[in-house]
Amino acid sequence: MSPDRLLFLLPLVPLLAAVVAFVAPGWSRRAGLAAATAMPPLALWTAMGVLESGMLSLPLGGWTAPLGIALRADGLSAVMVLAVAVVGFFISLHAAASFPGAGVQTHRERFFWPLWLLLLAGLNALFVSGDVFNLYVCLEITGIAAVSLVATAGSPDAIRAALRYLFVSLSGSLFYLMGVAILYGGTGVLDLVLLVEVVAGDPPAIIACLLMTGGLMMKTALFPMHFWLPPAHSSAPAPVSAALSALVVKGGLYILLRLWFGPFADLVGDGAIQWIGGLGAAAIVWGSWQAIHQPRLKLVVAYSTVAQLGYLFLLFPIAWSAADRTAAFTGGVVLLLSHATAKAAVFLAAGNVLAAVGNDRVPSLCGLSRWLPVSAFAMGLAGVALIGLPPSAGFIGKWLLVVAALEQGQWWWVAVLLLGSVLAAVYIIRLLGPAFVMPDSDQPPNPVSRIAEWTAFALAALSVLLGFVAIWPARLLAASVGSGFSP
């Protein structure tokens, strides 16, 4: 069977598992773990297919565009799907390990699995969608699943944060949908590849571009639309925080990349590109500054996400006029992967701290290296990736961006990238410093599951090891250059 035919399995497998988990709660954990285990091979298969043929596409039910829905995967999709599969796998393991043992099913776990699997299905569908309306539907599915997952924490803070997140998410999607409507009104086309040909620089297209960009900025929490992210990401349960920061916010970014470097490429001038980069730079400085001053571990990490998303927006101006666009894109994508793995690791480790100590105030981290050596190590390794120190993937990503920017003489982005690293070092050290203090007792107040510790470690190790194989995403991206779909 050719990998094209298998594209629909990517969303379908987690979706079916979600249905099973909802209908038969007793089976939910098993269904979740089974789907999580099946996803990495599927994603790998997709990636191999992309490497071989440049692009995969599957018209669902045999109906082709404009009537039917086409699933499509190129190098960028394959990288994202792989990230979802691998990070999703470890998050699932952590979730399974951190809920109470078999036989006891809490209210929280009852709802966690179906929603989490729905989220995975939505993300996978998003990354293989080939048209702008389909992307809207996927955005909504992931948004609603993500909001509900935040609410599973159950605390008043979490509910309030979830509600706020929901409003931002819904209005962001509607902005996007309005843009889709106008775009369709002007061109009669929804397909991303066909749109590239027909979008002209007329006012409706510009309005559509503005609306869609604005909506996606809200969903991606780009500064100054980031206000909803820290409360939502910090009050959710640990696996959910990890998934939100590592994967969900990347969905909006992915669509923005597709649009700006695809259909809107002719509308977007140098000015707009510099503007969105400027917002990214502001996000880096503001997010890092806030992260430095937060009293709680999870808030530090959440603000760090605001900052790290800023880096990904620097990709826009740096890749825009790069001589070697693939190299710059590789930098951005490697940075994205590094952040996905490292941030998931830190949030999972933070969950372990919370479970062990009962709170996550920064001073409570004293003694961490004695109580939870594996989690402390995971935070250290992930911290290395977040700062962007070699040999981590964070370093390779930043390096590629810095070199690309210097080659074009865009030194101001270099300054921002380097400043961001220094600020990141400050907030990471603030977390890790206390970890080296000797605690009074040898045992943490509450025991933590070993699997929960090692999943965080595995993700952190990945974020470093990826630095050695950054050539793989580069190959995937290069494989589909010129396929009409890829940036």
Partner: protein, 101 residues
């Protein structure tokens, strides 16, 4: 349908969208914001329907399909929002109760 009617629908749709958006950002109370989001959604749907009706001959089915999908999504989202708002209200009142005692 004539061009001017379509334009009117487009304009009303855009106005509803803008009103709704303003509501989402300005209102504080959850219920009002939920209604505002729905107003926003209606605006988008109206625009889509108007786009379908443009031109000669039978209306374009694709925007209709989009509106139908959009309505389904909006219903789900509203349900989630109402549930969350309800939870939030209950949490809020229980906290207030404790404070009263």
């Amino acid at each position: 349908m004539t061009g001017s009617t379509v334009d009117l629908f487009l304009l009303v749709g855009a106005a509803l969208f803008a009103l709704g958006a303003a509501g989402v950002f300005r209102e504080v109370e959850a219920l009002r914001r939920i209604i505002a989001v729905n107003v926003m959604g209606s605006g988008v749907f109206l625009v889509l329907v108007a786009i379908a009706a443009r031109g000669e001959g039978p209306p374009d089915p694709v925007p209709h399909a989009m509106v139908l999908t959009g309505i389904v999504v909006a219903v789900c989202a509203t349900a989630v929002a109402l549930a969350l708002a309800d939870l939030s209200r209950r949490h809020g009142s229980s906290a207030d109760d404790k404070a009263d005692r």
